[in-house]
């Protein structure tokens, strides 16, 4: 038995019919065609599937799709336009915080959620906020640096515009 799901995904009103047992990750990837969020564990342990639901970071593998009815979902595909990367994407590029890239969508989403909520975060807060994101390649060093750099840039920008 399928139920209608109406959500706004990356700013686009989207309607699909889904079975109640299906995860948000599964529906995003298979029905909506957004393969940016990854499955690393399907168990809420790795953060590769991280998306924002109403701005809040969630592991989409462990979130029922139907629970998001009427809500706003942002995936990695909705973070920026290629011509104008988000500060965190730019900082990861500049610091070299990407290797195989499999964890990267989840890292970007967690970091974006952190920066949206707390643009003046310090290193401990970064490590805490990204604690649910596993990366097997980078040893985390350059990712931490990148998030701090993005935070700095966002603050500078806030300083100049505000």
């Amino acid at each position: 038995m399928k139920y209608p799901l109406n959500v706004r995904v990356n700013g686009v009103e989207t309607s699909v019919d889904v079975e109640p047992h299906r995860s948000l990750l599964n529906v995003l990837r298979e029905d909506i065609g957004l393969t940016g969020p990854k499955e690393g564990c399907d168990d809420s342990e790795c953060g590769a599937c991280m998306v924002l639901v109403d701005g809040r970071p969630v592991n989409s593998c462990s979130y029922l799709a139907l629970q998001t009815d009427g809500r706003e979902i942002t995936t990695i595909e909705g973070v920026s336009e290629p011509s104008c990367p988000h500060s965190i994407q730019q900082a990861l590029l500049e610091e070299g915080g990407v290797q195989c890239g499999f964890c990267t969508p989840g890292i970007v989403m967690s970091a974006k959620a952190l920066l949206d909520a707390n643009p003046s975060c310090d290193e401990d807060e970064v490590r805490l906020a990204l604690g649910g994101n596993l990366c097997r390649c980078t040893g985390y060093q350059k990712i931490v640096r990148a998030v701090l750099r993005a935070a700095e840039q966002l603050q500078d920008r806030a300083g100049t515009t505000g």
Binding site: H21, R29, L34, T35, G36, P37, K38, E39, G40, C41, D42, D43, E45, C46, A48, T75, I76, E77, V79, S80, P82, P85, Q89, L92, L93, E94, G96, V98, Q99, C100, G101, F102, C103, T104, P105, V108, V126, R127, L128, L130, G131, N133, L134, C135, R136, C137, T138, G139, Y140, Q141, K142, I143, V144
Partner: protein, 800 residues
Amino acid sequence: MSETLDLREQAIRKWGSDNRAIRKGKWIGKPARRLEDPRYLTGAARYVADLELPRMLHAVYVRSPHPHARIVSIDKSVLPGLGKTVFAFTGEDLRDVPPLIDHVALDNLLRTPQPVIAIGKVRFVGDAVAIVLAADRYAAEDAAELLSSVVEYEELPPVPNVAASGASDAALLFEELGTNEIYREAITHGEVDEAFAKADRVFSTPFEHNRYMAAPMETRGVLADYDRADQQLTVWSSTQMPHFLRSVIAGQLGLPENKVRVIAPEVGGGFGMKMCTVPEEIAIPFIATQLGRPVKWIEDRHEHLIAATHSKQQSINLEVAVTNDGKILGVRGEFVGDGGGYSFNTESALIEPALAAKALPGPYRIENYREEVGAFLTNKSPVAAYRGVGWTAANTARELLFDEAARGLGIDPAEFRRRNMLRSDELPYLSCTGQVYDSGSYLESLDKALEAVDYQAFRQRQEELRQQGRYIGLGISSYVEQTAWGSESSAQAGTPLPSHDNATVTVDPSGKVTVAVSVSSHGQGHETSLAQIAADGLGVDIKDVVLLHGDTSNTPYGLGTYASRSAVIGGATVARAAADVREQILQVAGKMLEASPEDLVIEDGKVSVAGTPSRFKTLADVAYAAHWDSEVRNSEPLLSATRFYDPPANYANGCVVALCEVDADTGVVTLDRIVAVEDCGMVINPMIVEAQVHGAIVQGLGGAMLEHLIYSDEGQPLTTTYMDYLVPTFSDVPPIEVISIETPSPFTVGGIKGMGEGGQIAAPAALANAVADALAPFGARIEKLPITPDYVLRLMGKIG
């Protein structure tokens, strides 16, 4: 000294003098941002799991719940819709597919043919019993569960570890072999007995290396599509070796190799695990040929932790004979591998113990050495490659023992190392195990690392804190890393394998560059580092270079990426091919500019007469003319060259120093700081090198402090999710500083050495030595990993 000169001369004679030729311009050595990153950062990168084909079936495995059992029956008829909407294949259905067997060229190694789906018998929990397919993954999972519930097994006594495997009444994994011990060999180098007889002191340590695994964030996955009309098989696999996999698939399935195409799309980490051909990479394509429909298998994490290859586990007994003033006279070592249910294809169960034994001497002058290697089968997932194969265990056991010896002799551990370490002017050096260390900075690396942490001040502070009941420790771990696996390196490692790699560089009519390589990137950033080499070779910007890799249909044959080979081999093949194309360009440009090609330079995409920059043609103009202008074009007009490279062995080196504090009440170890000195010869991209060091160190940290694949005495895996199998997180990792030394290899093109494994080789010993150093007042001896809080409390005598 004369022997040293001989080695150099021999090497140059053998490998030729153009080995050193590489054109270094604006790009090599620059921390260029990675060209591939935008697609990862925006979610556009597509891994196997992201691919969909029309009429695709999802495959789900039925895997053995028993460590050791006979398969009595599998009744597929219970599956509703069998043959229509649901399909199932057992080992019997794949009887015609030959089993996988290792390729190691050693006569006295017993072989354990592994059917791609188990036939008759299962040998570990997770062994493949059947594959079930349906158009929908959930439906396939339900059907697999149903089939799983009706498989009848006759359980056999489990063989959970080496002790059980070697027992006289042990059940045999392969009855036909008559034993579970598939290899045993001892080799003596020099005068070992004399050395031990002469010694003032002998120190020894038993060491149990834990079983841990690569566990890349992307699990394994295969998608296969067979076009019956063209008889063309296409396989997408998360592999490090697409061409080699093509050869194996063609051989196993009896297909002409030119009718098989393998694509490694984006690969989400491999670390050696995705090097060997896994049974799934044969079974899934076979089923696709049988059904004539695309078949996709994506491993889930639970399946990965029990059924993907494990690594590292071995028992090492080491003894070192020393004089009172700390000179090493001789070493004896026994290395026994716990190989799991099958001696895995490509490198066999020797991959851990044999490589450990050969690498044991490391950066030290050890002339008298007896190595004994054994390997046993056990009912666990097979052991195969993971970053730092064998070398991690050897380094950890040796560096722990050297600290032990230094403590016993009352010599500072750094000083003990210095007294036995090879000086740069002793290189090239032929180690007693036959490894030719080409060049390096062993002592310099040690000194630099100690300087960075202000070693003397640390010792003082340690003393002061001890008075207050606080325990800080510092651990040193020096290493050499064998790199650039070609024919020579693999032979020197003790497991000879032939090697073959190529790159093709092409300049198109618009003057843009396409480089196709046989090495395959899975996170290493080749699209940038190899573009840097091509850009310097041709005098263009890296943005004008496109790198193709991972697809057998558009890249030349080669062995892919493993064992720190791609910077050296990929780099050299690209440099050589670019040099040839440069010649072709200069020929054409010479005619256009009415100058001799020798007088021309290419820089920033312009070909000009040296010294007269105003006399130039753009590369685009030259390339256009080379293709279209019959007046100036070459007799073979295509601006393209393919070049080969099978490198001489070469060795990176370095030193990792770790600082920690142990909480004496809880046993919790806090890591304060890690410093790594890395010398990998000429550096192509320092940002990428630093990133590789970080990643490797943290994987080593995982192995030393957290990760352990545990089996019960009954052979059941107990670490089957990330809740039980702990990999390092953002909060487990201290700051890591990387210091670079560049000692070019005298043997390789451009002096490049491989790198990427040193961190994993060296970090565990640095961390273990740091903990042992902190706990020296308790007389603690670390004899196993990982160093968990309860083990620390045991080392302190606080719990029994």
